[in-house]
């Protein structure tokens, strides 16, 4: 060691401690410090002072993530298992694997959404089918009602016909009413018992009436007095019949007539005559 170098290094110890030397000067000082205890002591003292200057800097706080990242790097360097390094927290893991987490969250929602849409569509279809079935049931009920009415009417017709046959077989007096009215299709009979005070009028091919009209029977006396003898309607086949009752024998009247009257009947004939027969 020469005094020149030593003196030169002594001059450089302060800038060396401050880090203000060029590389070649720094190398020279470090080489000298290996050999010179005096310069090493000065260098250590200068270093302690200088780095106390560094300690005056504490205005700024590092972000919390910095510590987390530091230990994550240490985990990588140390070769620690991923499960242990995951203890650093869920949020960084989510940030790193955000697409995987997003997919994991969104995919089930999409699937569930699709299932809900499918089920809603099925519900709509079932409701639609139910509505259609309700209409079919309603139609069938209407048809059933009509059929029931028809059966009832047919049944009534048969009953009437049986009654008419019974009267025909037992009547003491029978009057054919064909050609007794404007309608050539009209046919039927007037039956009376032996006393003539009870009879039955059975008519075929009567024209259908509106629901507010009916047929009314009149008995006309020789003196012109007109007495109502009851009302009836026809069935779907155009057949109508009525049992007649009178205080005096029916054939004691001059004639019988049937008119169309408004329901429930009239005091006197007001409508058109369908037919009339003289006794």
């Amino acid at each position: 060691m020469t005094d020149n170098i030593h003196d030169e290094v002594v001059e450089l110890l302060a800038p060396y401690a401050l880090g203000a030397l060029e590389p070649q000067e720094k190398a020279m000082v470090e080489a000298h410090l290996q050999e010179c205890a005096y310069c090493r002591t000065i260098a250590q003292q200068d270093s302690a002072v200088i780095h106390s200057i560094g300690m005056s800097s504490n205005e700024y706080k590092p972000p919390r993530s910095l510590k987390r990242d530091l230990f994550a790097k240490i985990d990588v360097i140390s070769g620690r298992r991923p499960a242990e390094s995951a203890r650093r927290g869920l949020l960084p893991l989510i940030q790193e694997q955000r697409w995987a987490f997003a997919t994991a969250l969104i995919a089930p929602m999409v699937v569930m959404g699709g299932m809900v849409a499918f089920l809603m569509n099925r519900v709509d279809n079932v409701q639609s089918e139910n509505t259609q079935l309700s209409r079919v049931v309603q139609t069938k009920e209407q048809e059933n009602s009509a059929l029931t009415r028809s059966i009832s009417e047919q049944s009534q017709t048969l009953t009437d016909q049986r009654n008419a046959l019974a009267w025909a077989s037992q009547a003491a007096y029978t009057k054919d009413i064909r050609n007794s009215g404007p309608s050539k299709a009209l046919s039927g009979n007037l039956y009376t018992n032996a006393s003539g005070r009870m009879g039955m009028l059975a008519v075929n091919n009567l024209p259908n009436l509106s629901s507010d009209r009916l047929y009314q029977v009149w008995l006309i006396a020789w003196n012109g007095a007109v007495t109502g003898a009851g009302t009836f309607t026809n069935d779907v086949n155009g057949h109508g019949q009525i049992i007649l009752e009178s205080d005096q024998p029916l054939f004691a009247y001059k004639s019988l007539a049937v008119t169309i009257e408004p329901g429930p009947g009239s005091q006197q004939p007001t409508g058109p005559q369908v037919f009339g027969v003289e006794f």
């Binding site: 203000a20 270093s47 700024y60 706080k61």
Partner: protein, 194 residues
């Protein structure tokens, strides 16, 4: 074992045995100082974060190289930080403005003075002591020291910037450090007598 009560040297021994908790305590004690120094020297939050991480990684990997007989741990750690920052400065060939607090990036990192742990208070007091001592230096000596320490300029660059001979700069640095040391000793003695 309460790690918070251990000395820096004891913690470094534990770090040398790959004790993560010991490193964590040292980080909590010195990360603010290291980070602040980084910002002052490099002028950027990102760069300061990088060298802070580098400093503590170096501690983790090279704790065995610290020798307590050669100086305080804080000096050793700040030396690592300072050298790293100077390398960065010279690598990027730019000057850092260490006095600007108008930088919006830096505003976010300013420490909250109302929310400090005990260790932060101690280093804050130490920091204030050194800052006070620095302000007591003659201007020329203080400028030479700050340009070298916080700006990472070489003595040649400082000589050119200040327009003073190289020899004059060396002298200012030497005398400034000596003066600074005696001021710090004087302040410490005043504290001890109080």
């Amino acid at each position: 074992m309460d790690y918070q009560t251990l000395s820096d040297e004891q913690l470094v021994d534990l770090v040398n045995q790959s004790d993560r908790r010991a490193l964590s305590v040292l980080y909590d004690r010195y990360s603010r100082v290291v980070f602040s120094l980084g910002i002052k020297m490099l002028g950027s939050k990102e760069a300061a974060e990088e060298i802070t991480q580098d400093a503590f990684l170096k501690l983790w990997l090279g704790a065995g190289s610290y020798q307590s007989g050669k100086g305080k741990f804080s000096s050793w750690l700040l030396s690592i930080t300072h050298n790293r920052a100077i390398d960065e400065i010279r690598k990027r060939k730019r000057t850092a403005n260490n006095s600007s607090c108008d930088d919006p990036v830096l505003q976010d990192t300013l420490a909250d003075p109302g929310n400090e742990m005990a260790d932060d208070l101690i280093s804050k007091v130490q920091g204030e002591t050194v800052a006070e001592a620095l302000e007591k230096l003659p201007t020329l000596q203080r400028d030479a020291i700050k340009l070298a320490y916080f700006k990472g300029l070489t003595q040649t660059e400082i000589s050119e910037q200040l327009g003073a001979p190289l020899g004059t700069i060396k002298t200012r640095m030497r005398l400034g450090l000596r003066k600074l040391r005696s001021i710090l000793v004087e302040i410490n003695e005043e504290v001890q007598t109080v």
